[in-house]
């Protein structure tokens, strides 16, 4: 089987996966115990309003027709409109206006673990059973065991009161002045500036400093995972025959590590890095609601708690698409990096 037919097979297999999730979402919001119309209007809605919404959502049609319409709308990316959060505005607009903040946070949440977790893990694997290894490993395990929401609360309070808690260290004035400790307002102005055609490095640096604590928390679990997998991968590579061989041939230590071991040890890390997608999506809801960052996660949470079910359903569909896409990308990347991975086993 060639790479492309494997890819095609994966694409075909992803159709039932997406269909399953979308159908489940439909069942949850249309046939679940909460009536979307009654939830929106509660006791205050007039009969005319409720009838209008019922008509617009197509709730008067038979169920199978509703289902087909729902699937067809989702397929065409017609995500409907909001009824509570911003009545009348399109869901797509709601998502697009909030997406940049979540993506900005997620970008750093992927990057920070990559550049801290993997080097630490490799260091621990190269020097096993030393004090450094134990410190790094134990730190990684504890770091991963911390609940994200708790860590977020503590970081938030700790950095806001850094002068009294951290022996006079002033985080707000550290390098750049950011009066709001964690947030996206600096990012928003940087983003607006970029859309207007200006690149403001200082503004971007401020935006980065403001988002870093949130991203560190969001990436905390991934960082621990990458560290642990990186450590074992490096340990295994170190003891493999070809490394022994290279050592016997007299390859210098530096070139041994960087040329022969580093790239091979990266292979098992690919699924860990892509598995982050699931963690990031789930984590963003918590982090965004703890730190009041107005992103997609918070949108999903608000849509649910304030009974804007059409928006919540549409968002769930987008999340499913995203996860399926990332999974396919991961498998493809895997076959490119490591040709030994067979397509037949899948």
């Amino acid at each position: 089987m060639s790479r492309w037919s494997y890819f095609a097979k994966r694409l075909i297999l992803s159709i039932p996966v997406i269909l399953f999730g979308t159908s489940l979402t439909f069942i949850a919001i249309r046939m679940g115990p909460i009536d979307p119309v009654a939830a929106v209007y509660g006791d205050s809605g007039t009969a005319a309003d409720m009838a209008r919404m019922r008509e617009s959502l197509g709730l008067n049609d038979p169920l199978w027709q509703q289902y087909l319409e729902f699937i067809w709308d989702m397929f065409r990316f017609d995500l409907g409109q909001s009824w509570v959060l911003q009545p009348g505005s399109r869901t797509t607009d709601l998502i697009l206006s909030r997406a940049p903040r979540t993506v900005w946070m997620g970008f750093w949440a992927v990057l920070i673990p990559l550049f801290i977790g993997i080097p630490l893990g490799f260091y621990a694997g190269l020097n096993p059973n030393t004090v450094g290894d134990y410190t790094a490993s134990f730190g990684g395990i504890v770091w991963r065991a911390m609940p994200n929401f708790w860590l977020a609360v503590i970081l938030m309070i700790g950095l806001s009161n850094s002068e009294s808690l951290l022996f006079g260290f002033d985080w707000k004035g550290f390098i750049l002045h950011t009066p709001q400790v964690i947030g996206t307002n600096e990012f928003q102005s940087a983003w607006n500036g970029m859309q207007a055609g200006q690149l403001e490095p200082v503004q971007w640096a401020k935006a980065t400093k403001q988002i870093l604590p949130a991203s560190v928390v969001l990436g905390s679990a991934s960082m621990g995972n990458e560290m642990r997998i990186g450590r074992t991968a490096m340990l295994e590579t170190k003891h493999s025959n070809y490394v022994e061989m290279a050592k016997a041939k007299g390859v210098s230590g530096r070139s041994l590590v960087w040329k022969h071991m580093f790239r091979n040890a990266l292979i098992p890390l690919v699924p860990v890095i892509t598995a982050e997608a699931n963690l990031l999506l789930g984590g963003s809801v918590l982090i965004e609601s703890v730190l009041s960052i107005n992103g997609i996660g918070l949108l999903f949470f608000r849509a649910l708690t304030q009974a804007d079910l059409p928006v919540a359903g549409a968002l769930m569909y987008v999340f499913i698409l995203l996860l399926v896409f990332i999974n396919i990308m991961q498998d493809l990347l895997y076959t490119i990096i490591d040709p030994r991975v067979g397509y037949e086993n899948e």
């Binding site: 996966v17 999730g21 504890v142 991963r144 929401f149 074992t232 699931n278 963690l279 918590l286 499913i320």
Partner: protein, 509 residues
């Protein structure tokens, strides 16, 4: 020859014990004494823990079954009477609620800057200060639990020496490796502490759920008014109002302190004046219940599917892959949030204040991860020659899976289950932090964190920090135990792989 048959490999354990009953009887006698110390509590737990009223409400609501009501109440009556049998580790035997006696401290000294003030107490165990009485009870509970653990271990040794046919089994090697695995043992100890806390929660707290958390205005307490020197009586609710921890001024009852009403608070109080330790002890019960039920459900599904899909392969395997892919394509935490909101008003959410619903959700959404973890080992074992041999002997697929495949795979399930438990505990507390899942008044650690988040930088830091630290410790413990089991079962194996690692993280909570 008849001797031969009774000694056959298949002689049931009972026959073997009948042959040589001495060691077993000796072991069982001590176990019976240990159990007798707590028999009342066992029955009390049976009467209290399952939501009998709710269940009876539904069962007796069915017309025909309604006729069974007298039988139900008779059984309930017997259960209640047995629950009243006095137990060693009860609040009644070692009470820590009482008040100081009016005529001033017995003695007062200052040692190395610490003021030592010793009062005579009334109502507490041996007239000791409330803190000491509470500590004695906690120490006894843990002592009792560890004696039990030791005795169970002794039971295994008795079995090994006297009743097992084989001198050596692979399980011996596994246990030997576990005995030198310090990290795994650390996990084991932490988990034991946690489980004992959950089991003995009502006896461990300095006060009770009913009195302090659920119905504070239906209970009274006596205390010594230090101004007048008189013993006064007040409602627990009023006392709670005066014992809040809200950071500023003197509104704080910190770690290890008494409030104005002679009540001892090992972990301080919550923002509404309720006792944090009692809250945490009962919260650990909820977390453990959800974790165990959820893992039970997903283990059964994952294990069954792994066996079937490995044995039949082909379309069955493909269908399972598709189903698990479909479930994993929906981010778990988001699904949980959605389900908790959507099902929040239904009757399932009433059982155990939402605990049962959460357990179901975690269980039905958690199996794909478990299944992926045991799929590889299942596929390996089905290729082994003994499975082939069993097949050619004409054994049924069901029996082959049970006898020849399952024992090999179950260890891998344990590893992953231990790691997932930590994730479930984190995710449960995350949901209740958001105000979803476990509803009031049932305590949940996440709610304590949520209550105290504004006060972290103040003197009332304990409200958020202590539950958070406990989660970190317990989750680390579960991960360590998982590591230990893995190294014990399969010392050559590498780490659990990507899926195992991310399971421990609770889906991003």
């Amino acid at each position: 020859m008849s001797q031969q048959t009774t000694h056959g490999d298949d002689a049931p354990l009972l026959d073997r014990i009948r042959e040589n009953p001495q060691p077993a009887i000796r072991w069982a006698a001590v176990a019976a004494v240990l159990l007798a110390l707590q028999v009342g509590a066992v029955f009390a737990a049976m009467m209290e823990l399952p939501p009998w009223d709710t269940i009876a409400g539904y069962v007796l609501g069915v017309p025909l079954l309604g006729a069974l009501e007298p039988a139900f109440s008779a059984v309930a009556g017997v259960g209640d009477r047995l629950a009243d049998v006095p137990t060693l580790l009860s609040r009644e035997l070692i009470p820590n609620r009482g008040h100081r006696v009016g005529n001033g401290p017995v003695f007062e000294t200052t040692i190395a800057g610490f003021d030592l003030v010793y009062w005579q107490w009334d109502g507490t165990f041996l007239g000791l200060p409330a803190a000491v009485a509470w500590f004695v009870r906690v120490a006894l509970v843990y002592l009792y639990a560890f004696v039990w653990m030791g005795w169970l271990w002794k039971g295994y040794l008795v079995f090994r020496e006297n009743y097992r046919y084989a001198d050596w089994t692979p399980a011996d090697d596994v246990i030997d490796r576990m005995r030198t695995h310090r990290w795994g043992q650390f996990g084991f100890v932490v988990i034991t502490l946690f489980v004992v806390m959950a089991l003995f929660a009502p006896a461990l707290g300095p006060t009770t759920f009913d009195e302090n958390i659920d119905k504070p205005y239906s209970h009274e307490l006596e205390y010594l008014d230090k101004e007048t020197g008189e013993v006064e009586t007040t409602l627990v609710g009023n006392a709670n109002l005066q014992s809040k921890s809200r950071g500023s001024g003197n509104e704080n009852i910190g770690v290890g302190s008494y409030d104005e009403y002679d009540r001892w608070h090992p972990f301080g109080t919550l923002i509404n004046g309720k006792d944090l330790f009692t809250f945490i002890a009962l919260g650990s019960r909820v977390s453990l219940f959800i974790g165990l039920v959820a893992i039970g459900i997903s283990s059964v599904i994952a294990f069954g599917l792994a066996m079937v899909s490995a044995y039949y392969k082909g379309p069955v395997d493909l269908a399972t892959v598709l189903l698990s892919d479909s479930i994993q394509a929906m981010p778990r935490l988001l699904v949980l949030i959605a389900a908790a909101v959507l099902l929040g008003e239904t009757w399932i959410a009433d059982i155990y204040n939402g605990g049962f619903l959460l357990a179901l959700l975690f269980g039905s959404w958690g199996w794909p991860g478990l299944w992926r973890a045991v799929r590889g080992p299942s596929f390996q074992v089905v290729e082994r020659e003994w499975v082939d041999a069993a097949r050619s002997y004409g054994q049924t697929p069901r029996r082959i899976m049970q006898k020849h495949m399952a024992p090999y795979v179950v260890g891998y399930l344990l590893i992953y289950a231990s790691m997932s438990l930590g994730g479930i505990i984190i995710a449960t507390s995350a949901l209740s932090f958001l105000g979803l899942g476990i509803t009031q008044p049932t305590p949940e650690w996440g709610r304590a964190i949520s209550m105290g988040q504004e006060y972290i930088a103040t003197q009332s830091w304990h409200i958020s920090i202590i539950p958070g630290l406990l989660i970190v410790i317990v989750v680390t413990g579960f991960n360590a135990l998982g590591d230990g089991i893995r190294d014990a079962i399969d010392p050559q194996s590498d780490s659990g792989g990507a899926s195992g690692e991310s399971a421990a993280a609770g889906g991003g909570a």
